[in-house]
Amino acid sequence: MISALKHAFSGLISNLEETGKVTRFALRYFREVFKPPFEFRELLRQCFLIGNKSLFLVLMTGFIMGLVLTLQIRPTMMEFGAEAYMPSMVGISIVREIGPVITALICAGKVASGIGAELGSMKVTEQIDAMEVSGTNPFKFLVVTRITAATLMLPILVIAADSIAIFGSFLVENIKGEVSWQLFVNQVFSSLDFGDLIPSTIKSFFFGFAIGLVGCYKGYHSEKGTAGVGRTANAAVVMASLLLFMLDFIAVLITDIFYEI
């Protein structure tokens, strides 16, 4: 009993410690991101790699989410005779919640783990040390570029996911209810306003930041050995996903305040 308590307590302490370390890592990012020299080429390369790695998966998942969502909600809406509200309903749920969260979770799986494994193996094979002694600040070259790239790319990926999900939803509506593309899109956009688009875009930036941050943090503090690198990738996905849900919760709380005003 006591040992169980002790175990829980030490778990709590180590979680708090980790939170502190991640926060310090994030602060170091903000200290270094605006300081020259800037690594633009590496930043562009990372943006390309992140897009390249996850675009296909994000589009696939977005499309299927659009289809499935519409197929499942449609019967209920028809029961209430609210079929005409389908496009607005689907549009709002995709743009506000499903698009950003699904995209972010996919990127947590692909991007955060990829960054974690890459930096982890660079750490244990002393490549990061080699950079340091050759006069390039490895935090700037590796970490700042990757976090920035993830932050910039996630909103773009979210827009891609939203668009294809709405298209998927349209396909179902078109086949089952014979709605034209023009009417559907008009309906979707008339129900969406800046109060939907802006918070979800801001949220996406934060998601991207969290994904880059966790991947880099875990990789930069990887343990020795190749097994350590595997654990690092895994831990990065777990931590990034958790952080995403917490951020999402906070974002919803904040936007809720604005809707009430």
Partner: protein, 260 residues
Amino acid sequence: MIESNSSRVDQMTASSTAGSPLIRVQNLKKSFGDHQVLRGFNLELYPNENLVIVGKSGSGKSVLIKCMVRLLVPDEGELFVFDQSVPDLDQNELDQLRTEIGFLFQGSALYDSMTVRENLLFPMRRHSDRLRGEDETSLVEEALENVGLLDAIDLLPEELSGGMKRRVALARTLILKPRIILYDEPTSGLDPITGKEIIQLILEVQKKYKTASLIITHDMDCARVISNRMIILVDGVNYAEGTYDVLSKMTDPEVSAFFK
């Protein structure tokens, strides 16, 4: 190729003690948590000499040389390179100092996402002032030619064998023409023949660029061929010091264990 160079050693030690040391380490201490790794290490590295440090694995050899380029910061003691106190340098001075010190990492540490060419260009991106008007590409080619790997210029590290990787790493270390080179187990992870080739290469490089070298190893063959002087690291201190011939005749069990 393996021959005793004791006559050269005697000259060396006679002349070098007169000159001032390039690296001077005094009473260096470094712990990680409760684990005391270095407990008062002393060392002097003189111009043109090949100083070999041997010690068991985990005895703190890598920690010692990482302190010299401030990849690690010592807890206590003095550490001078070119008469500059390494722990007290600011970032600019440190970067400047690091261009004068080559570091060959244990596992080669080539950047795996970059080609051989990009690996060699990397140290120059922040130090174009050191090119002395020479063109980057010709420097890369010269460095690769020195290690006999000009053909590999556009390959990725994953396409190279272990011995080739070590050569490329050596070329990358040499590219800014450092005055001191620190070798962390240059033959580890290589088969004996490739290891000997690397040793020969190190000796050639030495002759050509007239660098002082500090070589860490537990390969006694390597130590015998390369060293002018050796230090045996036991329990975090310099336990014994001397030429290979002198040390190999010592009866102290801690020392003779290395020569079995």
